[in-house]
Symmetry: C2
DNA sequence: GTGAAAGCGCTAACAC
DNA sequence: GTGTTAGCGCTTTCAC
């Protein structure tokens, strides 16, 4: 049978409350007592029962991780963040339950239910969702500690963490400009995402600063997938054949485009320069190695977990911005 | 305050046990009673307290997902499987806790502790680990429902699920042979992994069947990373310049190699044919689209969860093999 | 510094 | 078919 604190108490000739206090590092136990308890616990192979702990304390050392239940392509960042989230949580004995929720079929109140069902201490919303998604409204009304990625949802109980997307897009565009390009197209992802709009802002900032006209810098809207990138670049070549460089709002679109261009006999970067966004790790093995803006997913994962722990411990919601970094690769030529 | 079954009982003028029975779909309650309870539950906004349920029933609807806490490159499959695992589990109200364990620093007994700490119903070991890893020994001794991926650990309480690696590697090699190649190299990953040895077996089966000699079919050992692939292809060109096709035991090695080859001015597939393994989704956006063997991660994820649920419900350990599928891409030429 | 006792929300005998 | 009651393993007053 399983060893409980009652067994330890018996073994040590003490009461269960003393054992409990000793085990939990509370004050009010003699060093000697604590030592005896700890020893007995080890000897008997005691493993605490968290269900019991959670029942009485009305909270668990469990947090929810929410990701959108969509295609894998839509959420590469999550998977680079996860180990870091887990590591930061584990430092404080927290664990993560993964919820894959259907972004489309979201039912109001779902999140609150998820949280209260298991007495979760809080949650991290990892997938970017359209800014007007009901989940965000619910978070604004809730009083559960929550951290939201890639979206601004700031309350007493909710922190945000984002890459500085405006800066990232600015850096990418600026790099193309610095390489002598003036005919620069931007292929963006879904407009409903806050990050898309911010990336656009960064693009515009750089092009305007360089005095490039709207005609020189066409903007296309796509869907963040490789296929979408392929289609967009086809359209781009048709409508704006004078383009010399394209900034794709993520790496997969850039890859899909380059793959298509190669088949069409258009060489990257000799005939067309391409830069992506995200810093997906396969980019460095791409042919050619893909210029991109690296998002610091380890930092985001770690900070997201830390922000959540702060909220759980009574802190207030805040916003954190992570700096991106340019990776030049070999997909951009100098004119 | 939070609504409990006691509140519902009061509200309906019944006892808590009746409410409990009604809520849990047990027999022994009149339809009318159940209906009243269900209605009251909804009206009052009742959310069950799983901690309490778990405490008394001594088990939870929680399973552990174990992944190795190594570089992202080492575990792409997991991330394609996760949504399917989650979906299959959710069908039976199960949820997954993610444990990132340090494969290197594994302490004997760790897994059992993880499982008993939260009364987990079982676990799925998702990352391939060296066959002699102590974790597998522990699983062989344990009596917790466990599903192991990519390794043969079969007990009363432990099922396996694997891709048919021998077949997959055979298909890849056979494809190269069918395209007229006779000088075929194989760049494998870590030998300590069961899947590596099986992939080798498939390679050998195909080459022997075609009557190719050992000299014609050199074997190199690498590490499943893009960088490793790059280094291996360099070595290969030096030692076996007569090679016309290379089979890499995963896609990232193949990508790293192609990326290097392009820089070195060697065209794929014109001068050297390349096929990978895994079917990583970025392969289809690669330049050129990468020939590979597609592992059916959705099926593996779903089946893994189902196997675990079977074990939890008293079933016995079994082995399941999933068929891989050839994707021809454009990285292999016909001689 | 330690013990006794109540109770967290729920299930499962056992009675009726 | 429904109610009563005794816990599940633990924390936390409140005494002493």
């Amino acid at each position: 049978m399983r060893v409980s604190i009652r067994d330890i108490a018996k073994h040590c000739n003490m009461s269960v409350s003393t054992v409990s206090r000793a085990l939990n590092g509370d004050y009010g136990v003699k060093d000697k007592t604590r030592k005896a308890v700890l020893e007995a616990a080890k000897e008997l192979g005691y493993v605490p029962n968290l269900s019991a702990k959670e029942l009485v304390s009305r909270k668990s050392k469990l947090v929810g991780l929410l990701i959108d239940d969509s295609d894998y392509e839509a959420r590469p960042a999550f998977f680079e963040q996860l180990p870091y989230i887990n590591k930061a949580l584990a430092l404080h004995q927290y664990r993560a339950i993964i919820y894959t929720l259907n972004g489309m079929g979201y039912v109001d109140g779902e999140l609150s239910d998820i949280l209260s069902l298991r007495n979760l201490s809080g949650c991290i919303v990892l997938s970017p969702l359209p800014s007007d998604h009901p989940l965000y409204d619910e978070i604004r009304r809730m009083s559960y500690p929550t951290v939201v990625l890639e979206n601004t949802v700031l309350t007493r109980y909710c922190s945000n963490i984002n890459t500085d997307e405006v800066l990232g897009a600015y850096m990418a565009t600026r790099y193309l400009i610095d390489c002598g390009h003036r005919r620069i197209a931007f292929v963006n992802g879904f407009e409903a995402f806050e990050m898309s709009r911010e990336r656009l802002e960064g693009f515009l900032k750089a092009t305007e600063e360089a005095g490039l006209s709207k005609d020189e810098t066409p903007i296309l809207w796509s869907d963040y997938t490789g296929n979408g990138g392929k289609k967009s670049v086809q359209e781009l070549l048709r409508l704006h054949p004078e383009t010399t460089a394209v900034f794709f709002a993520n790496d997969f679109m850039a890859m899909g485009a380059i793959s298509y261009l190669a088949e069409a006999g258009i060489r990257v970067p000799d005939q067309l320069s391409v830069i992506g966004y995200d810093g997906h790790f396969t980019g460095k093995y791409y042919n050619p190695p893909l210029a991109t803006v690296i998002i610091d997913n380890p930092a985001i994962g770690t900070r997201a977990a830390e922000l959540l722990l702060e909220l759980i411990n009574g802190g207030s919601g805040k916003t954190v911005r992570i700096k991106p970094q340019l990776f030049k690769g070999k997909s951009v030529s100098t004119l």
